[in-house]
Symmetry: C2
Subunit: 333 residues, 2 copies
């Protein structure tokens, strides 16, 4: 089942069901006004949403229209928590080079994860405002999961049952700021502006065998201004999503709608390219002694889309955004 959120003037947007081929959509507000409400009542909402999805598939759904991704907000425009791991060890090791810092202790055996802001996510076609190019504007292509209510101290085995939806993410990052913040030990704050999401959240059955071992066996294609940056696979996570959830919930419960991210998708095979510019630059530093690829500039466009192993497009739709100069508060520029 594919779900999306249309702009409707409310902060949480309006829930729609999208057809398997992403061509058509139908309003689902008869079941739940928005996706967050549906997740809080998933045992009741899911069967009703699936019936509506079936009627969309067989052509009997009243009010079905062409699906328009440009009307989409993030599937959850705001969520209870946004917890982002760094589960691709290849990425973490290259980031140590990028940030010129020593390795993270126990990086191979204990997940690292930061808490991000979850009150103001961006949709797949929204312009992304930044204060200054000097902050080192970068993207991070990721996969993620959305859970229902998870009890404190859940096991990884039990955590798997709480995964309700799969999503595709661009975790915008400011590298000049991040290099400073990581040294404070307090984690990323200014370095992590609003995060963006591909338009469609899907139930795990929607990706079939490509959801395996609690990981996405999908390739994430990333372009900057139409130029390929990478096409890395989600397979190589050192920790599965259930393991990341158990890590997140060890000392707290998670409320329904919490989003857990994989961290930047990254593969040991350099031919896969990268899912962020900091990695590209770290590889250049290793090869040439200095980075050559600039960070993003105002006006740059970033596109991300997943695909299955056989080349078919992934189920999440496409992120296609432009980096823009944020207006200064109190001024009309």
């Amino acid at each position: 089942m594919k779900l999306a959120t249309y702009q409707n003037g409310s902060p949480d947007g309006g829930l729609v069901i999208v057809s398997r081929d992403q061509a058509r959509a139908v309003d689902a507000s008869t079941v739940a006004p928005d996706l967050l409400t549906a997740l809080r009542n998933w045992p009741q909402a899911e069967p009703a949403l699936r019936r509506l999805a079936e009627s969309l598939a067989d052509g009997s759904a009243a009010g079905a229209v062409a699906f328009d991704p440009t009307r989409c907000l993030a599937p959850l425009p705001r969520a209870p928590q946004w917890l982002d791991g760094s589960a691709f060890l290849n990425h973490g090791r290259l980031m140590d080079v990028a940030f010129k810092k020593p390795p993270i202790p126990d990086f191979d055996t204990i997940p690292v994860m930061y808490q991000g802001a979850s009150d103001d996510f961006l949709g797949p076609h929204a312009d992304v405002p930044f204060v200054t190019e000097a902050d080192g504007i970068d993207f991070e292509g990721e996969f993620g999961v959305i859970v229902d209510d998870v009890p404190m101290a859940v096991s990884a085995e039990d955590a798997a049952r709480h995964i309700r939806l799969l999503v595709q993410i661009n975790d915008w990052s400011l590298r000049a700021v991040g290099a400073r913040e990581v040294r404070t030990g307090f984690g990323f704050l200014q370095a992590k502006p609003s995060t963006s999401f591909a338009p469609i959240a899907v139930t795990p059955d929607e990706v079939g065998d490509a959801w395996r071992y609690g990981r996405f066996d999908l390739t994430l294609h990333i372009q900057r201004n139409g130029e390929r940056i990478g096409a890395a696979s989600g397979r190589e996570m050192a920790f599965s999503f259930p393991q990341l959830i158990a890590h997140a919930a060890r000392t707290r419960r998670l409320t329904a709608g919490t989003i857990i991210g994989s961290g930047t998708v990254s593969n040991a095979d350099r031919a896969a390219g990268s899912s962020c510019l900091a990695e590209v630059r770290a590889i250049e530093m290793i090869a040439h002694g200095e980075p050559r690829t600039p960070f993003l500039r105002f006006g740059d466009e970033v596109a991300m889309q997943a695909s299955f192993a056989d080349g078919r497009p992934g189920p999440f739709g496409r992120i296609d955004q432009r980096v823009v100069h944020a207006p200064r508060p109190g001024r009309p520029d």
Copy 2:
């Protein structure tokens, strides 16, 4: 004006107005169902709430009852963001001793701040569940502010105008976990379970001259099992709350209801004692080469209450909580 949130079965609770002497309360749901809704519509809600507060003060409010803090949730049981600074330099320096780590770079000149979970706050009398005493269970007495919508890149000068309410906080912390997490650079996650709040949130006028230079000129009295741990003043923040808000909003906007914390209240004068056990232990390590005060145990009680300089009780009411053993998921213990 004093505001509190009564349990009413809904996740955000029900808004009540509390009399200046904290003796009486009146339901405010005719103005807004809950405090978060009121903050999102503050220009409309505030005058109506003040009229209701006046009618409570002059005895004309219909339905006024005795104020019962044991019915209170946190003023905001869930909030868009919870951003906690570490603005008392004395605390930060002692924590470097506690965590056996080098000083934070630029600690005197750039605020440090972590993003905490904001979806599951605890009320002033709620039991506080923890998985194991081995995590090093500790409290952190703090002050905080709640803002309305803050634009990205706001100046500290303009940020002051967005402070709507003042609050008193216990930022529960797990020191054994925190010592590990601070070394990852990704910040505190497992080390920061649900945060607790004193029952009453107040408008700044409610503390008069004790709200000055964007700081709380109030003393925070803290007891463990009835024994004094500290009585430190909020005056010594190295950064004001407007400066902390500007730091938080430099690369993101903040939505109404976001809470900004001071970090653990701490004074250079050792006679003031401490607002957390990690500080007590760091001072013992400096004096005796080893910590002597144990972290909290299941059954321990922690009380926090502010006072004015002349000894009058502060406006926030009292935090009075007990540390308990969290049940393991799936088991009835």
